[in-house]
C-alpha cells in the first residue's frame, strides 16, 4: 500500500540572515508565503495547515502561482522537509524529479550519472547495471551517454532523469515543472512509462503550469495558494476554478480524452 498522509502540517523557514525590518514591508507583497516574525528570527510560512491524503492510483496535478508553495509541498511529500508543526506519513519508495541539475554531475558521463541517480534512489549498483541498457534505449541518447553531462541540452537531461526514475519502479513519483523541456515524441514515450507506473499502484504528483501536461498525466488536482490548499478535486474542476475558464475546451481533441484519464490507467 502506497500512501501519503499529511495532517495539519506547516512548513516554516527560519531566515537567519534577513533584517526583520525590511521584511515587514515584504510581507505586504502578494507573492510567496506569509512572513511572520514572532520570534527573533523572521519566518517564512511556506506551507500552512496542510491536510492531505493520497493513495495509490492517484495522479495529482499541482497548480498555483509562483511562490504558492508547490515545490515546498512536493518536498514535504517527498519527506525532505519534515513538517514544523503537524504530522506527515509517507509509505512507499519516493522518487523525486525536482531540479534536473541536482545530483547530476556535469563533468561525468551520462552512464555514471545514471548510476549515481539510481543509487540515490535506493538501488544497488548491480540492479542499476541491469537497467542501464533499458534506460539507454528509452532515453535514445545513444553514444551521448558516454559524453560528460555538460554537453547535454536541457531536454536531454530531462530524458536522462526521467529514464532513471521511471526505470526503477518507484512507488511515489514527484515531478516538478522542469520536465516541460522534452519534445512531444519523447513525451508520448514517457507517458506510456508513467501510465505503467500508475497502473502498478504507484502515486504521481506533478507540479506544472502546462494544461497539456496536466491533462496528459493527471486526473485530480490540488490548487495551492499562499501556502494553503485552496482546492482539491477533479482536475478539470480545479483548473476551471484556478484559471477562470475551461482549458480543456481549447485543447486538441486527442487531449479531451487523455490516455491516462482512465481509472488507474487500466482502460483506454
Amino acid at each position: 500500500m502506497v500512501s501519503i498522509d499529511v495532517w495539519n502540517a506547516s512548513v516554516d523557514f527560519p531566515i537567519f540572515d534577513a533584517k526583520s525590518r525590511s521584511l515587514k514591508k515584504l510581507a505586504l507583497g502578494k507573492v510567496g508565503g506569509k512572513i511572520g516574525s514572532e520570534g527573533k528570527v523572521p519566518i517564512i510560512e511556506a506551507l500552512h495547515d496542510i491536510t492531505l491524503s493520497l493513495k495509490d492510483g492517484d495522479r495529482v496535478g499541482l497548480v498555483g502561482h509562483n511562490g504558492a508553495g508547490k515545490s515546498t509541498l512536493l518536498r514535504l511529500l517527498a519527506g525532505i522537509y519534515e513538517p514544523t508543526r503537524g504530522q506527515s506519513r509517507i509509505v512507499g519508495k519516493v522518487a523525486p524529479v525536482f531540479d534536473l541539475g541536482v545530483g547530476m554531475d556535469p563533468e561525468i558521463s551520462g552512464y555514471e550519472n545514471i548510476m549515481i541517480r539510481g543509487l540515490f534512489l535506493g538501488m544497488s549498483r548491480k540492479e542499476m547495471e541491469k537497467r542501464v541498457d533499458d534506460i539507454a534505449q528509452f532515453t535514445e541518447l545513444g553514444d551521448y551517454l558516454s559524453m560528460p553531462l555538460r554537453t547535454y541540452s536541457t531536454g536531454m537531461r530531462v530524458r536522462l532523469a526521467l529514464g532513471v526514475v521511471t526505470s526503477i519502479n518507484p512507488e511515489i513519483l514527484l515531478l516538478d515543472e522542469g520536465i516541460g523541456a522534452v519534445d512531444t515524441a519523447f513525451l508520448a514515450k514517457a507517458r506510456d512509462r508513467l501510465k505503467g507506473l500508475v497502473a502498478r499502484s504507484g502515486l504521481l504528483v506533478f507540479a506544472s503550469h502546462s494544461d497539456e501536461f496536466l491533462a496528459e498525466f493527471c486526473n485530480t488536482a490540488i490548487w495551492m495558494d499562499e501556502g494553503h490548499v485552496k482546492m482539491h478535486g477533479d482536475l478539470r474542476e480545479v483548473l476551471i476554478a484556478y484559471k477562470g475558464y475551461d482549458p480543456f475546451e481549447r485543447m486538441h481533441l486527442s487531449h479531451d480524452a487523455p490516455v491516462l484519464s482512465g481509472n488507474g490507467g487500466e482502460k483506454q
Binding site: S3, D5, W7, N8, F13, P14, F16, T51, L52, S53, L54, K55, G57, D58, V60, R75, A78, G79, I80, Y81, E82, P83, T84, G86, Q87, R89, V94, P96, F98, D99, G101, V102, G103, D105, E107, I108, E112, M115, I116, L119, F120, L121, G122, S124, R125, N219, T220, I222, V229, H232, G233, D234, N263, G264
Partner: protein, 306 residues
C-alpha cells in the same frame, strides 16, 4: 475516481515523533545501508578532482611526499634528531594529521556544501558525512604510499630498537604491534564521523563555526606533536626540575595528540602506550552520545537550515 481530500482522510495522526532517538539511529543505520552510494560518490569525488590531469590522484601522493620530505629534513636539523628515525615519524604523523584536518574542516562544511542534494533528494543526512569521511580515507590511502616508501628506505633503522633524539625514549622498533594501527585507524574514522555530524549540524545553523574552526586548526597543528616529538617536553622537564612537570600537559591535554598516537605509534614501532587508547575510547563514547543527541533534536532541521 474522485479524490476529495479531507473526506477520506486516514485515521487520526499517528504518534510519529520526528524528534526521537529511534529516528536518529535510523538515520545512521540507513546511511550504512546506503554504503554503495557514498562509496561510489567518494571515489567519484577523488576522480573528479583530478579529471583531465595527466597523473591524476597521484598528485595527492606527490604533494604529501614533498611536504613530508621537506619538513622531515628541516625539523630533524632544528630538533637535532636522527633523520632515519625522524623522517618516518614526520611522514606518518603528517599523513594522519592530514586525515584529521580534512575530516574536521570539511566536516563543518559537510551539509552546507551538499545543500542541493539535501533539498532535492530524500536521504539520511549521515550519508553526506560518510561520503566525506570515505573520501578522506581514500586520500589517506594515496598518502600511505609515501609511508611505505619511507619504510622501505629506513627499515634498517626502524626494525631494531632506536631513539629519535639523543637521550630520547628507547623505542622497541617495528614488530607485530604494527597491526594495532588498523584498529587505531578504525577508531579514528569512527570519531571522524561523529565530529562531522556534530559540527556539521551546528555549523549549518551557525555559519560562524566553519571560519572559527579553520582559523584555529592551524594552531592545533603546531600544538600537536607532529613536526616535534613529545619526548622534548620530558627532556625539558628533566633539566628544569620537578616544578616544570606541567609542560608534559601541553601534549597530554590535547585530544588530537592521543588520536594521532593510537595510529602513529604502531606504524613506527614506537612503544604503545595504552592510556592513549583509553582517552580515544572515552572520546568515542562521549562524542557519539553528543552527536546522537544533536541528531535527535536537529536532524530534521538541517534541510531547513541549509
Amino acid at each position: 475516481m474522485q479524490a476529495t481530500s479531507t473526506l477520506d482522510q486516514a485515521e487520526a495522526p499517528p504518534a510519529v515523533k520526528s524528534r526521537s532517538f529511534k529516528r536518529a539511529f535510523a538515520d545512521v543505520r540507513e546511511a550504512w545501508d546506503h554504503r554503495e552510494l557514498w562509496g561510489h560518490l567518494g571515489w567519484q569525488d577523488i576522480k573528479q578532482r583530478y579529471r583531465r590531469s595527466v597523473i591524476g590522484p597521484l598528485w595527492i601522493t606527490i604533494s604529501m611526499g614533498t611536504t613530508a620530505l621537506a619538513l622531515g629534513l628541516l625539523y630533524s636539523v632544528l630538533l637535532d634528531a636522527e633523520l632515519p628515525a625522524f623522517l618516518p615519524y614526520i611522514t606518518a604523523g603528517f599523513i594522519i594529521w592530514n586525515f584529521i584536518l580534512g575530516c574536521v574542516t570539511e566536516g563543518t562544511d559537510v551539509f552546507i556544501a551538499n545543500e542541493g542534494l539535501i533539498k532535492h533528494l530524500p536521504a539520511p543526512i549521515t550519508i553526506h558525512v560518510m561520503r566525506m569521511v570515505w573520501r578522506q580515507v581514500l586520500f589517506l590511502a594515496h598518502n600511505l604510499v609515501i609511508y611505505l616508501i619511507v619504510m622501505v628506505i629506513f627499515f634498517g633503522t626502524l626494525s631494531e630498537p632506536y631513539r629519535m633524539t639523543d637521550g630520547g625514549t628507547l623505542q622497541p622498533g617495528i614488530s607485530w604491534t604494527i597491526l594495532l594501527a588498523i584498529p587505531g585507524f578504525v577508531l579514528l574514522a569512527v570519531n571522524a564521523v561523529w565530529v562531522s555530524l556534530l559540527f556539521g549540524v551546528i555549523s549549518t545553523r551557525f555559519r560562524d563555526i566553519p571560519p572559527v574552526v579553520n582559523s584555529f586548526i592551524n594552531l592545533v597543528f603546531f600544538m600537536t606533536p607532529i613536526v616535534w616529538d613529545a619526548d622534548i617536553l620530558t627532556k625539558v622537564t628533566k633539566t628544569a626540575g620537578s616544578d616544570s612537570q606541567w609542560r608534559v600537559l601541553i601534549a597530554e591535554l590535547n585530544p588530537v595528540y592521543h588520536f594521532v598516537e593510537v595510529v602513529r605509534a604502531p606504524l613506527l614501532g614506537h612503544h604503545v602506550d595504552w592510556h592513549h587508547w583509553v582517552v580515544v575510547g572515552g572520546f568515542t563514547v562521549v562524542g557519539w552520545l553528543a552527536a546522537l543527541v544533536i541528531l535527535r533534536n536537529y536532524r530534521a532541521r538541517v534541510s531547513y537550515w541549509v
